[in-house]
Amino acid sequence: MTDASTCFHCGLPVPKGSRYAVEIDGESREMCCPGCQAVAQAIVDNGLTDYYRYRTEQSPMARQLVPEALKNLELYDRDDIQKSFVSGRGDIREASLILEGIVCAACIWLSEHHIMQLPGVLSFSVNYATHRAQVKWDQSQISLSQILKAISDIGYLAHPLDANRQEAVYKREKSAALRRLAIAGVGAMQVMMIAVALYASAAHGMDANLKLFLRWVSLFIATPVIVYAAKPFFIGLWRDLKLRRLGMDVPVALAIGAAFSASAWATITRHGEIYFDSVTMFTFFLLAGRFLEMSARHRAGQAAEELVKLIPAMATRVNADNQQEVIPVSELQPDDIVLIKPGESVPADGISLGGISSVDESLLTGESIPITKLEGDQLIGGSVNIESSLHMRVQHVGQDTVLASIQRLLDRAQSEKPRLAELADRVAGYFVAVLLVFAVAVGVYWWQVQPHEAFWIVISVLVVTCPCALSLATPVALTAATGRLTRDGILTTRGHALETLARVTDVVFDKTGTLTRGKLMLEQVQLLAETDETTCLQVAMALERHSEHPLAKAILAYNTELEALRAEQVQATPGQGLRGIVAGETYFIGNPDFIAQSLNLSLEQSHDQTTVMLANSQQVLAVFSFSDQLRSGVVEAIAGLKQKGCRVHLFSGDRQAVVRRTAQEIGIDHAVGEMTPADKLAQLHALQEGGAVVAMVGDGVNDAPVLAGAQVSLAMGSGTQIAQASADMVLLSEDLGQLVDAIQAARMTRRIIRENLTWAVVYNLIALPLAAAGWVAPWMAAIGMSVSSLAVVINALRLTRRHHQPAKTNSLLPALKTG
């Protein structure tokens, strides 16, 4: 189960000689860092150990809140800041929170129990599907900051959420769709039951009065199904007519409308056949498909809202008289000067005025290494300041910021209808046009031959050729496949994704964050002088303890057992390196440029790896090389793709040598490094011109144009929001092996769609001439229509079967997992 060398809490590798451990259920478990240890200890101390037994996914690595950040939480208690997200005045207050770090249902149990036991918390409920929490508390007993702190104690991060309109719209849409679905489902079942009796009466005979009664009951039940549940189709018909085009709603609404009116007419006039069973069942199936489609769309939409949390709620403004004042971000104006302390987020877009620091823009760009910002450099709202305090002149606030524009982009990407789906709509439109012309022609012919039979023959033609099977063929297969993939952790956000994925010939990967974890680990220590590794590491660690840079953290994490040395008079050059005195001697540590400058040396730069050098005042002592860890299962995934006949490429912005080495390691033949996003796009177009259908897998903002340019694109679940927005599918599980499954599922979906379409066309070709000749009694038409639709649905349901075991997890009770 749990590998001895991985952290029991978060599953990341435990550094050599870690001294962090927590006793859980009588067994000592290793932890990777003090953060995880503290969280695990808090969970055990509160008697919530069951969490570890029932969780189905690894917890995210725990981040310890520094005292600074804890103090910031207290600002959430101020009334002027609470104004934007807290409802209820007086002592009883309520707020919505976004919870970060929820990975499985056990997380919900854990957080609800932990928070509910706090005195003064009146209610706390977490929605697993949306990762939103509702909290209600008594202000006189507990403050919001205490609740937020308690949440961070057990390893989650909570951000207050503006109770905004989008969420409310989603909720209304969903509940309306559910009601329609329920009415259609219940109605269809009842009508079907009565229909069975009526069909039997054709064979055995039935009292005429009872028959009439049953027909009226069917009409009574079917009416709300058509009037209420099928309303979206009629609205669609009306919209299409106004725009003078023939969409998919036109045949559907016409079929429902015609069959229902004819049946109602037959019931009232006591002459003719009724089709209430077929109509209601058809409505129900179509509504079910649309409901699932809507759920997937909503889930993708929530990603956009999570961007909100990147912007902090307050900022420190420096006033004209040099006074610092904490104000809500919404009150910031352009040209205000703000102070951004280390660890804080940049509150708006602006220009750095002074101070040198590194800024982590990974949430926006996917770049894992912080970027050094000098005076005059542009700062983007939402990025995190890491090393030292910065002053910034605000340029853009609110809707004018980069983050806001990304959010708008996301909204647009989600509302766009994929081209392919529109094409399918147009084809269906022509089909309907031809059908209507044909029905009119048949009607005119029979009007002259046998006027009193003409109406019923036209109805037979309309019902028997009702494009139900045809219009269900594709959506029902896509719905089934999408549902199965979502359960496996692959979210499909665009309708065409599966169809295109089935035709993929080339798969292009980005490196950092996609094939690798995007997190640097110290890999090798190369000695350049008469010294030993332990000493070098000890000196390096003593110095790096004073730095917040991720490379410093990687060095500290390498070996936590080494005896600590103390560094004195440490001076940092942000983004470059550190100098300090350890055991009486001056040392320098930093990037090669920094060392070259400090020692007045000219150093040969190593280009194929990220390195940090350690030097004393005379010479370079050691070179630390870092590398990014590959994700697990990458090699298998690449091999699987090749086996499926896909060519695999690696396009990366990283240095050529690093890219080559990675490519060799995992078996990719075609790898190119040092590419700008424009280069990537050009290469992609070159591939496409050669006739390739390309799937792109990426994670960063720099990948976004390439993701949009590929025929089908997949983003990693941990990737940037913008990447997820421009991608057609999101790999929530981050297991690249799922990509192979997705292609397999897509190909099977394509086969099933073809089978369905063939069946629908063959059925129509046989039934149409028979109906036009007047040989098909309306009840036969109704049965034919139901059977043809059912055949299509049952065929599509084959897609929901799983063909593989879900990914391994560290759950102690894997049998309880529901996937």
């Binding site: 149990w109 036991q117 977490v126 697993y128 009601r179 219940v186 039940i221």
Partner: protein, 66 residues
């Protein structure tokens, strides 16, 4: 078969009740989260170590030393 004239309307009334119950469930938010509650039932809420959960009957918990 005249009993059908009564039973079917009765069935319709029950149908109405079922639909009303469903609408109520939708309105009261029972369909907001379809996954969480399925797991929640498996979690052990009675662990005496959870603060606020006092073992009510100590004799029922042999081996409990406190």
């Amino acid at each position: 078969m005249t009993i059908l004239y009564m039973l079917i309307p009765l069935g319709l009334v029950l149908l109405g009740v079922a639909v009303w119950a469903f609408m109520w469930a939708v309105r009261s938010g029972q369909f907001d989260d379809l996954e969480g509650p399925a797991h929640r039932i498996l979690m052990d809420d009675d662990d005496p170590r959870i603060p606020g959960n006092k073992p009510k009957d100590k004799s029922a918990l042999p081996g409990e030393k406190e």
